[in-house]
Symmetry: C2
Subunit: 227 residues, 2 copies
Amino acid sequence: MPGPSISTILPSAIYDELRASILSQVAAPGTTFTESAVALQFGVSRPTAKMAIERLVSEGLLHREVHQAARVPELSRADIVDLFDTRAVVESAAAAKLASEGTVPREALDAHRRIQAGADGDLAYAPLDIAFHRALVTGQPSTRLVRMHSLIMGEIELCIGQVQANHLRTAAEVSAEHQAILDAVGAADPELAARLTRSHVEASRERLLAHVDASGTADSPSRENHR
Amino acid sequence: MPGPSISTILPSAIYDELRASILSQVAAPGTTFTESAVALQFGVSRPTAKMAIERLVSEGLLHREVHQAARVPELSRADIVDLFDTRAVVESAAAAKLASEGTVPREALDAHRRIQAGADGDLAYAPLDIAFHRALVTGQPSTRLVRMHSLIMGEIELCIGQVQANHLRTAAEVSAEHQAILDAVGAADPELAARLTRSHVEASRERLLAHVDASGTADSPSRENHR
DNA sequence: ATGTAGCAGATTGTTTAGCAATCTGGAACG
DNA sequence: CGTTCCAGATTGCTAAACAATCTGCTACAT
């Protein structure tokens, strides 16, 4: 059930590792992944490497054109706008569905509490933030909405990593908005839950866009270490 | 650009044919597709057949569990509800985006006019209806929304085929609602366009559900020919 | 006669090897 | 300096084969 549409099992190890390198910016935008290179690096056959790459491509974490090597995409400003807009559509719908039943998913509550607990320190809350939003969607009953969400979550992680790396939003700020969403869900107010979720997502988007506009043309990772 | 995420080219011929057999009910729900059988039938190698099958699986037109043959799914009542709910979310968002620019896509207008033109006769409007809704989504600028939409359109086609086959809605009725949506888009009224789109989709859903509830437990295609 | 254990067939998962088609970049030429 | 062509690289696709796993049937014990 939690499996992401494509069902193969062995490539998942390679998939995980490639995914991690992309998300952690170890593989910077523009880096190319050839099937042979991946196959050699992990000691597997080319078809297996191919599967892992194709899965990444279907999630938008890699781009590829016919007869060309897959490469890590550079997210343009338009991409970021599109991404967060679409995310707002899906997640606000999920929040509304959740609120219409009035039940708060346990996983969402867990992630929320762990962000709260670490809000004082310099917590790397990005993974928990992801977990929270994912739980919001997987907690509601629509399986199609979950599939749609997982279709864009890869790219979203790419963005949220930047939000956190550049300290564009504090854990306390994010946590407060999460609390409000959970309250609306618990109060069985779909309208409010949807609105809060939408503005929460749009707030992150605005911060990221402002950062991108301020620091270069695209997503130059030039000043990640300005603490 | 219009290509559906997975990029291979040869399997697309097989994919198209399999897709057609499923949508036209030639392959009834429950039919199984083994990789070897498909490979043999189309004279291609098993990996190629595998790709086509996996693509269908990722669209929900086939279901499959590990080490088992893929089979044509039977859409349960819950599936239909989920499908149309999710579709309403995506398409109403698309209509709103379209209206915020105030431009009516040419393809949508074309499809609409052809339904109008044939509304008197016993037109098989299902393909045109699909084309209309697809144009509504592809006409707006968000590429992610398009990808999400194509993720559920396969299953939607499965349903709309039944709506038309059983004469659950007349072409005139559908056409009038399409007209209203286009008017709202042209009038640059996102709110209205979204609301009209949502109720249009929900109207189809209600008709289909009523039909399913009336004629057996699931989607028994037992009385397709009651004209 | 019934329930269970185990076995055989079928199906997919994965690998290896290799050929064909296509794209990219640079070198030779006008 | 611009254009054409070629070589290398990379993917698309095929073929054959072995391993892992599931399903359904058969034989056995109760």
